[in-house]
Amino acid sequence: MLAGLDRTAAMQFMLSRPLVAAPATGLLLGDFWIGLQVGILLELLWLGRLPVGAAIPPDDTQIAVAGTTLAIVMGAWTGWVGLPMVLLSLLVSLPLGKVGQVFDRFARYGNGRLLVKAENAVGEGRVAAVDSLHLMGLLLFALASLATYLVIVTFGSLLILMLAPALMPPVEAASSWLQLAFPLLGVAMTVRTIHVRHAAVLYCLSFLLVFFLLWPHG
């Protein structure tokens, strides 16, 4: 919930970014490195989506937190551990994470009602009520985050129990490619949306330079 609040409502220290929220969850659940793996896979995926104006970006925070929870808890339960379980957890968490945008929207509509109440209070001269009405918004945002987390973890656990026996062998076999697909897709989208002149050319030149520097050792 703290990471969820950091997205919009409070602080915005970027504790909500997957690279921070996922390892922190991992640390709390006893496996920091699983969390760090989740963070690496998710951090770049929606990096190009900016939280501008009224736009609500996908809730990568709760996907990271819930994905880490699923990877650790369901891994211990089913016996499948490591990268394949991380990948399967993320593949079920990603579509479920769409509900985060719905809950976030509910919270913001709820805050609209707080604004009306605040206006009425000011009109009646009860200015002291404004502080508490404003802070109630924190509760709505926190509940939205909690609801998103619970939906992903609950339905994600069921999906993993149902799908793991069939999906785990191909996930294990394809794990190194899947591990590459997440950051590369994020990179592609970021380069597309970053609004820099000749971004694709700069990207290609940098890629080729590093690639050929590493080549002799390949």
């Binding site: 915005q12 760090l36 963070g39 579509p95 805050n111 206006e119 950051p183 990207y203 590493l214």
Partner: protein, 243 residues
């Protein structure tokens, strides 16, 4: 003159500016919450209620650049009680919020955050446990500087803080950060691809296929295909292949 301790309280409150963010007037209730301790010093009774009412008007800007605006608003509120001013508090807020939002979005969300994230991910891929901390430090040093210096500077300089912000040339700095991000992403992609191919014991030359792949993915994104759809489709194809 507001006491330093009161300004510090306002600074702490500014971290909760968006707690009641709503579609109707966005940060307006947050502005009242942030300014409340000072408004209670400046006004009493009906005047205080009127001041609260004035600040409940529509307001939306970048949360970090709200600090210099809040500082200037405090200065104008204080000055407005003493003498006539060339600009009202409401006019100032209306005039400045959109340009500051654009600058903040471009610099912090579009520039600093992706760059810090790339550096953080690179060190995380290397297995460094402190990579998330490095990301937080890289991002939060400019963030906190803006919040703290912005509020205190805005209060001390009044309208002069806009000149100070202008001199920082944030849009230019944002472009530099974005260029560095693109370069870093190129290097990071190459590193990940080479590591992936080594793991699979494949010829390194196959890694060059990553460039057209990234371009095609970006093109699909520009057609409106979402990241979620792309990653799920890509994963499904891989799983079918390895089935």
């Amino acid at each position: 003159m507001l006491r330093r301790r009161l300004l510090f309280r306002i600074l702490l409150r500014s971290f909760l500016l968006q707690a009641s963010w709503n579609f109707e007037r966005m940060q307006s209730l947050g502005v009242v919450y942030v300014l409340a301790p000072a408004l209670r010093v400046f006004y009493q009774g009906d005047e205080l209620a009127r001041a609260y009412g004035r600040h409940l008007a529509y307001f939306n800007t970048h949360p970090y650049l709200a600090s210099p605006i809040m500082g200037t608003v405090l200065s104008l509120e204080e000055g407005g009680r003493n003498d006539a001013q060339s600009i009202t508090v409401e006019d100032f807020k209306t005039m400045i919020m959109a340009p500051y939002a654009a600058m903040g979005d471009a610099f912090f969300w579009g520039g600093v955050r992706p760059l810090a994230a790339c550096v953080g991910v690179y060190f995380a891929v290397l297995g460094k446990w402190w990579a998330p901390l490095l990301f937080l430090v890289l991002f939060n040093v400019p963030h906190l500087l803006f919040r703290v210096v912005g509020l205190f500077g805005g209060y001390a300089l009044g309208l002069g803080v806009t000149e100070l912000i202008q001199r920082l040339r944030l849009p230019d700095m944002a472009i530099r950060c974005k260029q560095a991000t693109v370069l870093f992403l190129g290097g990071l992609s190459a590193y990940l691809v080479v590591q992936g191919l080594r793991g699979e014991e494949l010829w390194a030359g196959w890694g060059l296929a990553a460039i057209p792949l990234v371009i095609v993915l970006g093109w699909l994104g520009s057609l409106g295909v979402s990241n979620l759809m792309l990653i799920l489709t890509f994963s499904a194809l891989l799983l079918l292949f390895y089935r």
